[in-house]
Amino acid sequence: MTGGELPLWVTVPGSLLLVAAGLLVLVGGIGLLRLPDFFARMHPPTMGASLGAGCVLIASMLVSAALLDRPVVHELLITLFVIVTTPVTAMLLVRAGRHRQRAESSRRSAQERSP
């Protein structure tokens, strides 16, 4: 699929990185599906966002470095943006989850008090 022939020093680590990334993301996805409660489920997707994305980006850099046709700045920026933005998401989500849990339980207890 790729335009030119890739040298070995790209193919081997690149392939390994991609496989690793795939596995990490997949495991993250499975974790999202499998883990029992919301707060626990917050964690696995980070695997994809951090190391998974990192592996792909490094692989991508390798390829572009090999083919010398594309700047690597995109990968850097992508990494930067992902790192800067994920905490925002996580903070708001977990707070929303906590708040909703608290509201739910207080409502439940209110219902128990006055059936």
């Binding site: 930067l80 943006f81 800067v84 905490p87 925002v88 903070m91 708040h99």
Partner: protein, 970 residues
């Protein structure tokens, strides 16, 4: 030319009269009278040219392709009618001068009267049937405004409307008939029509055409069953009744029947229709006239009856009867106009028209009594008066018509019976008004009117007498000229004379006179009030018409609730159904589904992607009602799947755009959700009903059908080879001519930049609409309160009060704010990057603008509206204007190089390639930033309406002054 003058003069007079001072009675009357007389003179001097079958023509081709030409034509018959119209018109104007009150706005009155005269002359002189219909409708309209002249009177308004509806309706029917006639003959020219009599009668359309034309004529002449409007038209001022509703306009119907007589008459159908309607009207009208309480009511029904008589004559298919009909038209016009004027005098001088209140006026108004008595005698058919002569002819024709069938007997019987009633109401009219003891209590003490008021009536009566005694010396020649012009060579021999010897018609006249007298005095003696006709009194036409009118309106209203339902769902349903039908009908030919291209192998990843996307779409469809947030999330996922699809099939620009739009859309939806009511499945009683289920099932079927249709069409197109010379051109010229490597962008900003121009106009327009609406937005009361979750959360902690002067939010948004603000300059950089390099790589003004807008919106999300806006002032609507102007400027720059709008111009500055295309894209960028920010922020501003636990800024500044930040004035 003179003919045109005859028709135009009254219209011109009408316009001038309207411009006269409102109450200038004398001036207006003198003016109108002069016009009428001038017309009369103009008509009169044509006489030598129309005798002996001569015709004066004035022809001006106008729309010859449509057979619509200005064609005036005067023959003997037309001349006679034109004289009638103009002379009686002059008399009526004279009379009206005295009749109308000083307070009446008479300028309008005379203006309308002249307009009517012109229209009537137009009918009479038309040589083209369409032109005739035009004037025909004009008489209906002028009649309407004249009847409603005293529009403050309820009965005037209602009567006028009924007359209008009936006569205009009749006019439409006539128009259809005339259209058919024209199509049959190939011309609307009356002479052509008259010349093709045999062709017409043999044409398959003859019967329907005849019915239509006759119906048209009958409505105008107030013939059964369309007679009912005429009595209600008596609410008009009496001069109007005298002129329009007895002498002229109502004669238009019979005029037309006579005019077309040679072409249309002579068939059984004609006889049955015309004679039938005429005889029923003759009888019914006369009977009703006998039992009216209102003087004008008597005269109105009498008019109906006499017009029935004329119609009967026309229907007899006899040439002599036609002559009699014409003769009676003249006679009736003279005596009836005179009677109306007399009735008007009575009303004018006594203040009432009620027969039961009037009596013995002969002493107070002897002259009037004499005039009225003679005129009534003429109406009754007393010998030595003109009415007698034509009635005699009518009797003779009634006897002569028909072979040895049942008609042999019935026509004379009807004629005689009608005349009996005619005598009865004539006697009643004279007897109850002028004879008997004078009665005491009248609204005004009666006295003789001014001489001028009586004069026109007296003149007409004089004519009755003269014609009655010396027919062949007075009307005789004119009648002959008129009849000759219609009948031509087939002119029958007849003799106008007072005495024909003792004949059956004379006997019938005698029976009628004595019978009528006996009948009246028998009724009178029996002490009946004779205020309403027996048997028929319940048929009060006005009430029936009003009820029918209301019923029609209401019925239409009920229908409209279905035909134009205000509900949205049926409308959308209709669109879906029609689209499905349209697709179905075109596609049912079959054989189109599979093209010749080999299929590309299925990539399981793509299939999986759309398993996910499809599931989300269905999920969103199911959840959209009760779980809106979930639905929004799913739609977001669908959007992402769509974006990936674009990416998959080599459309990076699309994917980028879709992605950025997706983000903004989700934020937009969420901003909106805040103001929607909470809606729970279990709150909805309608959900489980059978109706609801059936509706859902129906919609599901339609939706699936639509889906199948779209799928099939997409498949059909996808499996066909692509053959776009457009795209070939774009690909080949994008770099060479358009100067860009990103073909899509070159298309957007150059090849088809006009589309993009339009598109930003749409975006800008939407934004200003949204802005205008939200300025006046009023949230529902229950949405005004702060969201419940906020209350709960804030209650759980100490009340959060953020200070907009703080550098960072104090609460949970502190760290997100740091991070998001860190992103802002970089996001701005990325947005400009997309803008600048869009011509050569994916991106462009639109994507760049959306990125910038989103970066700004996120600042609002973490900082809050007030915080952000206390620091920057965006004025987004100005951005939209500026962006549009920039795009326009880039287009207009081409004009300087004498090239068409939007032709790109370029310049190179030290490796920096500048082009009007970039200016255009920058315009797009600015518009998008402005529009998106405007819409989202305007929505966000709505939350400021909620009452909020916030310390007033002024107080806070006093207590919490921390940084020396002076407030900017204004």
């Amino acid at each position: 030319m003179l003919l045109a003058l005859i028709v135009l003069l009254p219209f011109a007079g009408s316009v001038l009269a309207a411009l006269l001072p409102k109450h200038a009675r004398n001036v207006a009357a003198a003016f109108a009278g002069t016009v009428a007389l001038a017309c009369a003179v103009l008509v009169a001097i044509q006489y030598p040219q129309v005798t002996g079958g001569g015709v004066v023509r004035s022809y001006l081709p106008w729309l010859p392709d449509l057979g619509l030409n200005l064609y005036l034509r005067m023959d003997g018959f037309a001349w006679l009618f034109a004289m009638l119209v103009t002379l009686i018109g002059a008399l009526v104007v004279f009379y009206a001068r005295y009749y109308m009150s000083v307070k009446d706005p008479v300028a309008r009155f005379f203006s309308f009267l002249l307009a009517f005269m012109g229209a009537m002359l137009g009918i009479v002189l038309s040589g083209n049937l369409i032109q005739l219909v035009v004037f025909w409708e004009l008489t209906s309209l002028t009649s309407f405004v004249l009847i409603a002249y005293w529009y403050h009177l309820d009965e005037a308004r209602r009567g006028a409307r009924m007359a209008l509806v009936v006569t205009i309706g009749g006019g439409f029917v006539l128009l259809l008939g005339v259209l058919m006639l024209g199509a049959m003959v190939g011309s609307y020219d009356i002479e052509v029509v008259l010349a093709s009599a045999d062709a017409i009668r043999g044409h398959p359309w003859y019967a329907p055409m005849l019915v239509l034309i006759i119906v048209g004529a009958l409505t105008k002449s107030a013939q059964f069953p369309f007679h009912f409007w005429l009595p209600r038209a008596m609410a008009a001022p009496t001069p109007v009744s005298a002129y329009l509703h007895s002498a002229t306009m109502v004669k238009a119907g019979v005029f037309l029947l006579a005019r077309l007589w040679p072409a249309l008459a002579g068939t059984e159908l004609w006889f049955w229709l015309v004679c039938g309607a005429g005889s029923l009207t003759l009888l019914g009208g006369a009977f009703n006239a006998t039992y009216q309480r209102d003087i004008k009511g008597v005269l109105a029904y009498s008019t109906i009856s006499h017009l029935g008589l004329i119609t009967m004559l026309l229907g007899m298919n006899s040439r002599l009867a036609l002559v009699a009909a014409i003769f009676h038209m003249l006679n009736h016009a003279t005596f009836k106009a005179s009677l109306f004027m007399a009735a008007g005098i009575v009303q004018h001088e006594t203040g009432t028209r009620d027969l039961s209140r009037l009596c013995g006026l002969r002493r107070a108004m002897p002259l009037t009594a004499t005039v009225a008595t003679v005129a009534a005698a003429a109406m009754a058919g007393v010998p030595l008066l003109n009415g007698f002569l034509s009635k005699e002819m009518f009797f003779a024709e009634a006897i002569a018509t028909g072979d040895f069938t049942g008609l042999d007997f019935s026509l004379p019987a009807i004629a005689t019976l009608g005349s009996v009633f005619s005598v009865a109401y004539s006697v009643r009219f004279v007897h109850q008004v002028f004879f008997g003891a004078p009665c005491g209590t009248l609204p005004r003490p009666p006295h003789e009117p001014l001489a001028g008021m009586l004069l026109p009536s007296a003149l007409l009566v004089l004519a009755c007498v003269l014609v009655g005694i010396l027919p062949s010396l007075t009307f005789g020649p004119f009648l002959e000229t008129a009849a000759l012009s219609i009948l031509g060579e087939g002119m029958p021999a007849y003799r106008l004379a007072v005495w024909h010897g003792v004949t059956i018609p004379l006997l019938m006249s005698f029976i009628a006179l004595t019978g009528g007298l006996l009948f009246y005095f028998w009724q009178y003696r029996s002490g009946r009030a004779m205020a309403r006709p027996p048997l028929l009194w319940r048929l009060e036409s006005q009430r029936l018409f009003d009820v029918a009118s209301v019923r029609v309106t209401r019925g239409a209203g009920r229908l409209v609730e279905y035909l134009f339902t205000s509900r949205l769902q049926p409308q959308l349903l209709m669109i879906v159904c029609l689209a499905l039908l349209a697709g179905f009908f075109t596609l049912q030919r079959g054989g189109w589904l599979r093209g010749f291209m080999p299929l590309t192998p299925i990539d399981p990843l793509f299939a999986l992607l759309w398993v996910a996307g499809g599931a989300c779409a269905i999920g969103a469809a199911v959840q959209a009602k009760y779980h809106r947030l979930a639905a929004v999330i799913m739609v977001g996922a669908v959007g992402l799947a769509t974006c990936l699809t674009f990416a998959w099939f080599a459309a990076p620009d699309l994917a980028l755009t879709q992605l950025t739009v997706e983000v903004v859309t989700v934020v937009l939806f969420l901003l909106g959700l805040r103001w929607l009511p909470r809606f729970r499945e279990w709150d909805d009683p309608q959900r489980k009903t059978l109706r609801a289920r059936a509706r859902r099932a129906r919609d599901a079927v339609l939706a699936v059908a639509a889906g199948i249709g779209v799928s099939a069409l997409a498949y059909a197109a996808l499996t066909r080879p692509a053959t776009s010379h457009l795209s070939e051109f774009f690909v080949e010229n994008a770099l060479a001519e358009g100067g860009g490597r990103n073909i899509v962008n070159v298309i957007l900003v150059d090849f088809r930049g006009f589309d993009t121009f339009g598109e930003i106009a749409v975006v800008g327009t939407v934004a200003i609409i949204v802005f205008a609406m939200l300025r006046r937005f009023r949230p529902a009361p229950e949405s005004m309160v702060r969201p419940r979750v906020q209350e709960e959360e804030d209650a759980a902690r100490e009340a959060v009060i953020d200070d907009f002067e703080d550098w960072l939010p104090a609460g949970y948004l502190k760290i997100p704010a740091v991070l998001v603000r860190l992103l802002l300059p970089m996001a701005g950089l990325v947005s400009l990057y997309f803008l600048f390099r869009g011509h050569n790589a994916p991106g462009g003004g639109f994507v760049g603008g959306l990125v910038m807008a989103t970066a700004l919106i996120v600042q609002y999300m973490v900082g809050g509206t007030i915080w952000v806006e206390s620091r920057i002032r965006l004025l987004p609507q100005h951005w939209i204007g500026a962006g549009l102007l920039a795009a326009a400027a880039s287009g207009l720059l081409a004009w300087l190089a004498a090239e068409p709008f939007l032709a790109s111009q370029e310049v190179d500055l030290g490796g920096l390639h500048l082009s009007t295309v970039l200016l255009f894209d920058a315009g797009v960028y600015v518009v998008v930033v402005g529009a998106v920010v405007l819409m989202l922020i305007a929505l966000a501003h709505q939350s400021l309406r909620s009452p909020r636990k916030r310390v007033e800024p002024v107080e806070r500044r006093a207590s919490l002054r921390r940084a020396p930040v002076p407030e900017e004035a204004g």
